[in-house]
C-alpha cells in the first residue's frame, strides 16, 4: 500500500511524506486538523492541509523562535505567545527559570485538545503552571494590552486562513503597544525562496517596519517547510539582536538545545544577498 501526504509548495512543486497511518482527522470551527504517523518524520500535524510540525524537525523551529529573543533580553519575566496551539514554544520557554508568566492565545481550542492528546512531545509545554491559555483571536486579545510584556512570540500559521489577522499592520502595531519599553517581538516570517512566499515575506516585513524600529531578519533550516529555508523577524524598541546578545550569560543558564547555540545566534542574522535585497526593497529609505 502506498499512502502519501502531499502539500503543494507552489503550483508546480509538490512535497510528499510517506504516511504510515492517519491518527486524527477533524474539522474545527476554523480549520481542518489532521495528525499522521510517518516512517521518516514520525508524527506530524497539518492544518487545512498545510504542514505545521513534525516530530523530527519541530525542535529547529521552536528553539529558534524562542531562544533568540530570550538570549537577548536581560530579564524576561512576562511572555506572550500568539498562535502555537501545539505547545512547542511553551516547552522551550519553560526552560527559563526567570520567566514568571506565559500567556498563550490560540484561536482554535480544538488544536490544543488534539495536540494534548496526540502530540505530547510539544504539548508537554502546557503542563507548566506559569502557562495561562486564552482561546481568542490574537488580534482581539492584544488590543487591550498595554506596556505589559517583555517578549511577544508570534507563532502564526500562514496569512490565508485563521492566522490572517496576525499578519496585519494593526496587529504589529498593537504588539508594539503591548510590549514594555525594552520589549522584543519575534514572528515567523515565512520563506523567501518561492516567488509567492517571497511576496508574503515582503508584505509582512513592510507592515512590521511601519510599527517598529528596524526589524532584523534571521533564518533557520527547516526541512518540512516550503524550500526548507525559513525566516524569523526580530523587532525591539531597544535591543539589537547581535550587539546586545551576551553569549556568556546565556551559556551560563545551561539550557539544553539541539539546534540553537551561541555561535549560531549571531550567524543566523547573516543573510544571503537575495534575502537582504527583498527586505531592503520594502524598508523606508533614510
Amino acid at each position: 500500500m502506498e499512502l502519501w501526504f502531499s502539500e503543494m509548495h507552489t503550483k508546480d512543486v509538490k512535497f510528499s511524506i510517506r504516511v504510515d497511518r492517519q491518527v486524527v482527522s477533524i474539522q474545527s470551527d476554523f480549520q481542518r486538523i489532521d495528525v499522521f504517523d510517518s516512517p521518516e518524520f514520525g508524527r506530524f500535524l497539518t492544518l487545512d492541509g498545510y504542514m505545521m510540525l513534525t516530530e523530527k524537525d519541530e525542535f529547529i523551529y521552536h528553539e529558534m523562535i524562542v531562544h533568540v529573543p530570550m538570549a537577548v533580553h536581560p530579564n524576561p519575566k512576562r511572555v506572550l505567545v500568539v498562535g502555537a496551539g501545539d505547545g512547542g514554544a511553551l516547552r522551550e520557554l519553560c526552560k527559563y527559570d526567570c520567566v514568571e508568566e506565559i500567556d498563550l492565545v490560540e484561536i482554535d481550542e480544538m488544536v490544543v485538545q488534539i495536540c494534548k492528546e496526540h502530540l505530547l512531545f510539544t504539548a508537554c509545554g502546557f503542563d507548566d503552571e506559569r502557562v495561562k491559555v486564552y482561546y481568542e483571536d490574537g488580534l482581539k486579545f492584544i488590543r487591550d494590552r498595554e506596556d505589559i510584556y517583555d517578549i511577544i512570540i508570534v507563532d502564526s500559521t500562514d496569512p490565508f486562513g485563521p492566522g490572517e489577522g496576525l499578519f496585519a499592520k494593526e496587529f504589529y502595531g498593537n504588539c508594539y503597544k503591548a510590549l514594555k519599553e525594552d520589549g522584543i517581538m519575534v514572528n515567523q516570517h515565512e520563506s523567501p525562496f518561492y516567488k509567492a512566499d517571497a511576496l508574503v515575506v515582503q508584505r509582512t516585513h513592510k507592515r512590521i517596519v511601519q510599527s517598529f524600529p528596524p526589524c532584523r531578519i534571521y533564518q533557520a533550516h527547516i526541512p518540512t517547510y516550503p524550500s526548507g529555508h525559513w525566516l524569523f523577524g526580530f523587532s525591539s524598541k531597544k535591543y539589537h539582536p547581535v550587539r546586545d546578545f551576551k553569549a556568556k550569560r546565556w551559556n551560563a543558564l545551561g539550557i539544553e538545545t539541539r539546534y540553537y547555540n551561541a555561535h549560531l545566534h549571531s550567524a543566523s542574522f547573516a543573510l544571503p544577498n537575495y534575502v537582504e535585497e527583498l527586505m531592503k526593497n520594502v524598508e523606508p529609505t533614510e
Partner: protein, 482 residues
C-alpha cells in the same frame, strides 16, 4: 410569503437548461459564449460567459416579460410582499428614476428631504417636476442629517396640497428611518403617492426586528438595491409596486430608458438572490446584526470613537435605526471621517464604504467574517493610538440648507457660464456638486451658492473628499446660470 415557492429560480433554471441544449449561436452577443474573446473568458470564467446571452423565447425578454422573467418577478413580488416587482439592470438609479417618472409629470410638485441620492434630483431634471424640500434635521453632535419630522411633512403637505407624491429615504445611508407608517397615512389621506428609496433597505424585508419596510408600511412604489444587502451583482436592482399602482404603465415608463439588451448575468443574480433571501434571509440578517452589534461594542470600548445605534431613536426624525449599519463618529480623535477612511485603506488595507466630515461607515453583510471585524477594530484602535490629535478647528455640521431659486430642470438647461468657485457667491448653480460616496448632492442645479456651501465644499475637498458631478473635474470653477 410561501417558502415552498421560493425553492425555484425560474431564470437561473432556464439558463442552466439552455446551456445543456448546446444551441448553436448565430445571434448576439458576438463573443459567442466566450469563444470569440479568450482573454475575457479566462478572466471572468467560462461559466459566466456561457450565460451572457441575448433575449430569446426560452429565456423571455426583460422589456416584455411573458414567461420565466415574468415568473421570477412574481416570485420576487411575493418575497417582498409587493403586488408587482420589476427586475432592473441600470442600478437603483434606474429604479429611482422610473419611480419618479411614473408618478410625476412636468410641473408636478414632489415633496422630498434634501438628503436624497443624486439619482432622485437627476430624475427631476429629466421629468421637470418641482422639488419641495423638507429640511432633514441634523443630529448636532454627529453632524449627520436625519429623517423627516412628521410635523415638517404635515406643514409641507398643507402648504402644497397640489403635490402629487412624497419621497422617503428608508433608511438614509446612515441607517436612519423616518416615521414611514404615519407619513403614508398622511399622504394617502391627501391623495399623494408615497415613494420609498430603499437603496439601503433590502434587508428590512427579511430580517427580524428591522425597521418597517416600504411595502409593509403601505408605500406605493419602492426602489430596492438588491446588490447592496441583497447580495446580487452590482447594477442589479428591483422596483416594487404596491396594490393600486398601474404596473403596465410603470413598465412603459421603465422601457423609455431601460436597455433592450438586459444582461442575464444581472437578471439571474436577482433571481438567485431573491431565492436566497426568501429561504435564508432571516438567519443571514441575524448574523449580520450580531456582527454589527459586536463591532459597535468593541469600537466603543476603544475610547473616543462613537459607534452609534438605536439609542439615538427619538420617535420622530430618528424614528428607527437600522442596526446592521456600522457608523462611527471620529471627530473626538481629531480626524475627519474621510481622513480615517483614507488611513484605513492606505495604511491598513481596509476598504470601508465611506467617510464624511465627522463619521465613517463600514458596510457589513453576510460576506463578512469575525476575523475581518477584528481587523477593522484593531486598525481603528491603532489609528487612535498613532494619529489622535486635538479636535480644534474640526467642522462637524454636515447639512447646509440650500437656497432653492429655480427647478433642477430649468437650471440644468439654462444658458450657463463658467466662474471660479471662490467668486460664485450669490450665483445660481447649473450643476451638481456631490461628495461620492455617499452621493448626496451638496449643491443641486437651481440652488444658490452661499458662503456656507462654498466653505463646506472646500473643507470637504481639503480633507480628501471626492467631489463629482461638475463639468470641471477639479472644481476650481463652477457652471452658473447666466
Amino acid at each position: 410569503m410561501n417558502p415552498n415557492l421560493h425553492q425555484r429560480a425560474p431564470v437561473a433554471e432556464a439558463l442552466a437548461e439552455f446551456k445543456q441544449n448546446r444551441v448553436v449561436p448565430f445571434d448576439v452577443p458576438g463573443h459567442k459564449r466566450g469563444k470569440g474573446n479568450r482573454e475575457l473568458t479566462a478572466f471572468l470564467g467560462e461559466a459566466c460567459m456561457a450565460v451572457d446571452v441575448n433575449s430569446m423565447k426560452p429565456l423571455d425578454n426583460l422589456c416584455h416579460p411573458v414567461s420565466v422573467i415574468k415568473e421570477a418577478q412574481e416570485l420576487a413580488a411575493d418575497a417582498f410582499g409587493a403586488a408587482h416587482a420589476f427586475f432592473m439592470v441600470g442600478g437603483t438609479t434606474s429604479s429611482v428614476q422610473a419611480m419618479i417618472l411614473a408618478s410625476c409629470r412636468a410641473g408636478d410638485k414632489i415633496i422630498l428631504p434634501r438628503n436624497v441620492h443624486r439619482s432622485v434630483i437627476n430624475a427631476l431634471v429629466l421629468c421637470g417636476a418641482v422639488p419641495i424640500y423638507i429640511n432633514p434635521h441634523t443630529q448636532p453632535e454627529l453632524g449627520i442629517s436625519l429623517g423627516m419630522s412628521l410635523e415638517d411633512v404635515e406643514r409641507s403637505i398643507n402648504e402644497h396640497p397640489d403635490a402629487v407624491a412624497i419621497l422617503v429615504n428608508n433608511p438614509t445611508y446612515y441607517g436612519i428611518c423616518s416615521n414611514l407608517p404615519a407619513i403614508v397615512k398622511l399622504a394617502h389621506s391627501r391623495g399623494m403617492l408615497v415613494l420609498t428609496d430603499e437603496a439601503h433597505g433590502t434587508h428590512f424585508y427579511f430580517g427580524e426586528g428591522m425597521p418597517i419596510s416600504g411595502m409593509a408600511a403601505g408605500a406605493d412604489i419602492s426602489a430596492i438595491s438588491m446588490h447592496k444587502s441583497g447580495g446580487s451583482l452590482t447594477q442589479s436592482s428591483l422596483l416594487l409596486l404596491n396594490k393600486g399602482v398601474d404596473a403596465d404603465y410603470v413598465r412603459q415608463i421603465i422601457n423609455l430608458t431601460q436597455t433592450t439588451s438586459g444582461s442575464y448575468l444581472l437578471i439571474s443574480s436577482l433571481d438567485l438572490s431573491r431565492k436566497n433571501l426568501a429561504l435564508n434571509g432571516r438567519e443571514i440578517f441575524k448574523t449580520v446584526t450580531n456582527m454589527a452589534e459586536y463591532a459597535r461594542g468593541e469600537i466603543n470600548r476603544i475610547g473616543d470613537y462613537y459607534a452609534f445605534s438605536k439609542e439615538l431613536v427619538n420617535g420622530d426624525t430618528i424614528f428607527d435605526f437600522d442596526r446592521t449599519k456600522l457608523s462611527v463618529f471620529t471627530l473626538d480623535i481629531g480626524l475627519a471621517g474621510i481622513e480615517v477612511y483614507d488611513i484605513l485603506r492606505d495604511e491598513y488595507d481596509i476598504q470601508i464604504e465611506f467617510g464624511d466630515i465627522a463619521n465613517i461607515l463600514a458596510y457589513l453583510s453576510i460576506g463578512d467574517t469575525r476575523r475581518g471585524i477584528e481587523r477593522l477594530v484593531g486598525a481603528l484602535s491603532e489609528i487612535r493610538r498613532i494619529y489622535k490629535k486635538s479636535k480644534k478647528g474640526m467642522l462637524s455640521q454636515e447639512y447646509v440648507t440650500p437656497a432653492v431659486v429655480t427647478t433642477p430642470r430649468d437650471a440644468f438647461y439654462s444658458p450657463a457660464e463658467t466662474v471660479p468657485l471662490k467668486s460664485s457667491v450669490g450665483r445660481v448653480s447649473a450643476e451638481f456638486v456631490t461628495a461620492y460616496p455617499p452621493g448626496i448632492p451638496l449643491l443641486a442645479p437651481g440652488e444658490q451658492l452661499t458662503p456656507e456651501i462654498i466653505e463646506h465644499i472646500e473643507y470637504s475637498m481639503e480633507r480628501g473628499s471626492y467631489m463629482t458631478g461638475t463639468k470641471d473635474l477639479t472644481l476650481k470653477t463652477i457652471q452658473v446660470i447666466k
